[in-house]
Subunit: 465 residues, 2 copies
C-alpha cells in the first residue's frame, strides 16, 4: 500500500485533516501517487494512520474540491491526470534572504547621528496627535470606506490654505494629489509625462527623483549646479523637457535659489510646449537667516510648475503624507489616467493631518521645533568652526550644512573622523561626477542630541588637527 | 513716481510687509519696475502707502535676500537685471479643474450598491481598532521614526504566520514587502523585472495589473480564460515571461482554479529562466462551498511565484496595507534596488495590523463578516433565481457573483435595470475583447444592505419579465 511521505502530528496547531490533505496533495504533485491510481479507501487509511474517519473524509473532500482527485461512484477516489513537478514542494524550506533586512540603527550605540535623513521628534505633540487619531477612529466610521482618488477633500483644502499662506503657492484643492511618500508621487508624475520626455536632475542632488526616472526606464540627464542653483546654460544645452529642482534649500549644497535664477528657469519652461519644472520644496519649513522664501510655483501663475512637498522632515519620518500640486495640463492628464483608484495614504492620517493643519497644531509645532533646530545649528556651527581649518556653508535653512576642511582630502576627513567614532558622509557620495567642492562633508543635525555636540566636536578636533 | 499695482489690505491675514514684498516682486517680474531702476526710498514709500518704516524695511530686505534687488551703499535699492516673464503671476487665478473630483457615492440616494468594490464594515471592531491605535500613538514614539524599507519586522512576521497557517504560503518574513495599496506594489514589482519582460494578464480580469504594466510602458498581453482559468495554451503560445493570475477567485468570472491547472502553470514557469507567476490571492478569505484552497505559492517551493494580498476587501477599503512575497531571485534584485527608502504604509497601521493579526482579532473578524456575507449571498441567490430566466455562477467565494439572463442582451439587461433604479455592470466592461459569456452581469454584494435585497430583486423582476 501507498505510504504517506509526511508524518502527522496530533499536537500541531494545524488540524489533522489539513495535515493529511497537504501530505496527499504534495505526494500527488510529486508523482508519488500516479495519475489514475486509486487512493486508499477511507476506512483503510484511517485504520492505518490511527485517525478518525471524519479526518480522512475531510481531507479527501478537499482533494476532490481542488481537482487533485476524481470520484467514481462506488469505486473510490482516483488521482487526476496531473502534470507533476520536478521539485516536490513541501520538502523545500523557504529560502534564506540574500541580505538580512537592514536594522534600524541604534542611535546610542552608533555615536552621534549626523545623518541628513534624521529629524528630531522630541517636541512632537503626542497627546494631541493621539487624541486626533482616537477621534478619527472612533468618530468617523466613514473613514474605513473608499476615499477620493486624489486624497480626501478636507486634507487638500487644508493643504491649499497652508501652502497659500506660508509658501505663496497658487492653487485650488482640485489641483492637489495626496499620496504616501514622494517616491510614489514621482511614479504618478512620470505617468503624466510622455515616455520620450527627457528629465533633468541636479548633480549633486536628491537621488529620489533620478532613481524614479531611471526605474521607469526613462531618459535622465544629470546637470551641474553653479552659485545660483541648477545651471540654466546646461539646461538649455540639454534636450530635457522636465527639470527637477530644490530652490528653497538645494540638497545637498544648501543654496537658496535667487529670484533671477527662478525667473530664468520659468522662462526656459515657457519657451517650448511640454516643458515643466518639478519644484521639490524641500526643507522650506526651516530658515534661520531670513524668512522662508516663497515657492517658485507662485511666480508663474501655476502653468509650468509641479510643486511637491512632504511632512516627513518637518513632522516625522513615519508620517508618509506627501502632496503634489499639478499645473492644469498635467491635471487633465491625471484625470484621464486609468488605475490609481484611491490615494495610497491612510484616510486616518489624512483626517488627522487636516485637523493638525486647520487647528494650528502644525504651525505651532514648526515654530517649536524650528527653535530647537536654530539653537542646535548655532551650537554646532560654533563648535565646528572652533576646529582649525573648518568652515561651514549652506546652513541658512533646513537641517543640514556643508563642512569644509581643506587640510585633508574628503576621504581622509571621513577616515579620520570614523577612527574617532564619528560617522559622516562626503559630498562626493551625492555626486555623479566630481564634487563641486573638494574636502567637503554633508552634516545633518536633525537627529543629533544637543548634549552630544561638544564631545563630537572635540573628537573631530582630535581627528583633524 | 512708480505706483504699486497691488493695493495693501491692513485687515488681511497676510502681514503688511509680506503683501508689500509680493506686490513689488510681482511688478519686478512683470517688468513694471525695470532692471537698474531705483526703488522709492524707504521713507518716501512708507509715507506714500501709510505704512510703518519697519514694514518697508522688511519688504526690501526680502527682495534683497531673494535677489530681486541689489543694494548700493548710500544710494538705495536697484532692480536686478532680471528676465521678465510675459505673464505676470499674481494677476492669474488658479485654474479651474478640468473635471471636478469624483464625489464619494451616497449609498442611500443611489439605490442598492451592487459595486464589486464595496465591502461591509458594519461588523468592524471599531473599539478594539481604536484602542490599538491609541496604544500605538501614545506608547510607541519610535513609530514616528524611519521604519524598515520592506515594512516593520513585527508586521512581516505576523503576516508570515498568518499566510502559512491560513493560506499554505511558504515564506520567511524576509521575503515580504509591505506597501500602501496593490498598485504601489505592482510598480515595485515591475522594477524587479527586466524592461523587456512581457507581462500577461487575464481577460476578463482585474485591470490594476494591466494598467500598471501599460503605465510603465512595458509590453502587455491579454490572454483568454477557459473553464480552468488562464488558458495554458494561450500562455504557451505567447511571448510572455510573467503571468498575473487570480487562482482563488478569478475576477470577474468567479472561477476557482483547479489543482492541475495550477500545476500546469507552475510547470510553464519552471520551463524557462526568468518566468514568474504573479498570484493575486484575491478574495481568498471568503469561501462558501468549501474551505479556502491553499495558495498556489505553496505548491512550488516558492521559486517562481510572487504572492500578493491586501486587507482592503477583507477588512476595509481604507486599510491600505498590501503585501507581496518575493521568490528568492526577485528578492535579491529588490535588495539591489536603489530608492524605496521606507515602506509607503503608515507605521501606525503596520503596528496595529500586526497586533490585529497576532491577537486573533483578524481571524475572529473574518469569521464574523464571513457569516454576514454567507447569509447575504444565500438571500441574494434565492431572490435572483426567483426571476424567470436568471441563473447565477461564480458564487463559491468572494463577494460578487455572475448573473446570467439569456432573455436579453447585456446592454438591454443593464438599460432595463437602470430604468428601475438599479445600477449594475456588464461582464463586457471587464473584457478587452468579446465577453466569454453573453447576457452576463457582474454583481457585487459586499456593499448591499440585506434589507434592500427583496426590493431590488422585485425591481429586476419587473425589468426583465
Amino acid at each position: 500500500m501507498y505510504t504517506l511521505t509526511m508524518t502527522l502530528d496530533s499536537a500541531a496547531r494545524t488540524p489533522m485533516y489539513e495535515q493529511l490533505y497537504r501530505a496527499l496533495a504534495s505526494d500527488i504533485r510529486a508523482g508519488k501517487l500516479a495519475a489514475g491510481e486509486r487512493l486508499p479507501s477511507k476506512r483503510a487509511l484511517c485504520a492505518h494512520l490511527g485517525v478518525s474517519i471524519a479526518t480522512v473524509e475531510t481531507a479527501y473532500g478537499l482533494l476532490l474540491a481542488e481537482g487533485y482527485v476524481r470520484s467514481r461512484p462506488r469505486s473510490g477516489f482516483f488521482v487526476s491526470d496531473f502534470v507533476t513537478l520536478d521539485v516536490p514542494a513541501q520538502t523545500k524550506k523557504p529560502p534564506e534572504p540574500a541580505h538580512p533586512a537592514q536594522p534600524v540603527p541604534d542611535a546610542a550605540a552608533a555615536g552621534p547621528d549626523f545623518s541628513t535623513a534624521s529629524v528630531d521628534v522630541s517636541q512632537f505633540p503626542y497627546a494631541s496627535w493621539a487624541r486626533l487619531y482616537r477621534e478619527a477612529v472612533c468618530g468617523h466610521p466613514e473613514l474605513l470606506q473608499r476615499g477620493e482618488r486624489q486624497g480626501d477633500h478636507a486634507l487638500r483644502a487644508a493643504l491649499c490654505a497652508f501652502l497659500s499662506e506660508y509658501r505663496g503657492v497658487v492653487c485650488t484643492p482640485e489641483q492637489i494629489v495626496v499620496g504616501a511618500g514622494l517616491e510614489y508621487l514621482f511614479g504618478v508624475l512620470l505617468e503624466l509625462l510622455p515616455p520620450e520626455a527627457v528629465c533633468a536632475a541636479e548633480d549633486p542632488g536628491y537621488a529620489g527623483f533620478a532613481h524614479a526616472v531611471s526605474a521607469a526606464g526613462r531618459p535622465l540627464r544629470l546637470l551641474p549646479l553653479d552659485a545660483g542653483g541648477l545651471s540654466v546654460r546646461a539646461l538649455e544645452a540639454s534636450d530635457a523637457a522636465v527639470a527637477f529642482i530644490t530652490p528653497s534649500h538645494q540638497f545637498p549644497m544648501g543654496l537658496t535659489m535667487p529670484a533671477d535664477r527662478r525667473s530664468r528657469l520659468l522662462r526656459w519652461a515657457s519657451e517650448a510646449p511640454g516643458r515643466f519644472l518639478v519644484e521639490d520644496d524641500y526643507d522650506s519649513e526651516f530658515r534661520y537667516l531670513s524668512r522662508p522664501l516663497s515657492a517658485l510655483q507662485g511666480m508663474d501663475g501655476a502653468e509650468t510648475v509641479v510643486y511637491l512637498g512632504t511632512f516627513s522632515r518637518s513632522l516625522a519620518p513615519a508620517i508618509r503624507a506627501a502632496y503634489m500640486v499639478l499645473p492644469p495640463p498635467l491635471l487633465a492628464r491625471y484625470h484621464a489616467l486609468p488605475g490609481h483608484g484611491m490615494s495610497t495614504l491612510s484616510r486616518y492620517e489624512q483626517h488627522v493631518l487636516a485637523r493638525f493643519l486647520n487647528e494650528g497644531f502644525y504651525a505651532r509645532y514648526l515654530r517649536r521645533v524650528g527653535n530647537v533646530y536654530r539653537r542646535r545649528r548655532e551650537a554646532l556651527i560654533a563648535a565646528l568652526e572652533g576646529i582649525d581649518g573648518v568652515t561651514v556653508s549652506g546652513s541658512g535653512g533646513g537641517i543640514h550644512l556643508l563642512l569644509h576642511n581643506p587640510r585633508f582630502s574628503e576621504e581622509e576627513l571621513l577616515a579620520r573622523a570614523a577612527a574617532e567614532g564619528i560617522t559622516l558622509r562626503g559630498l562626493s557620495s551625492y555626486c555623479a561626477v566630481q564634487p563641486p567642492q573638494p574636502s567637503t562633508l554633508v552634516v545633518g543635525y536633525g537627529g543629533v542630541r544637543d548634549a552630544d555636540i561638544p564631545d563630537a566636536a572635540a573628537r573631530l578636533k582630535r581627528a583633524w588637527e
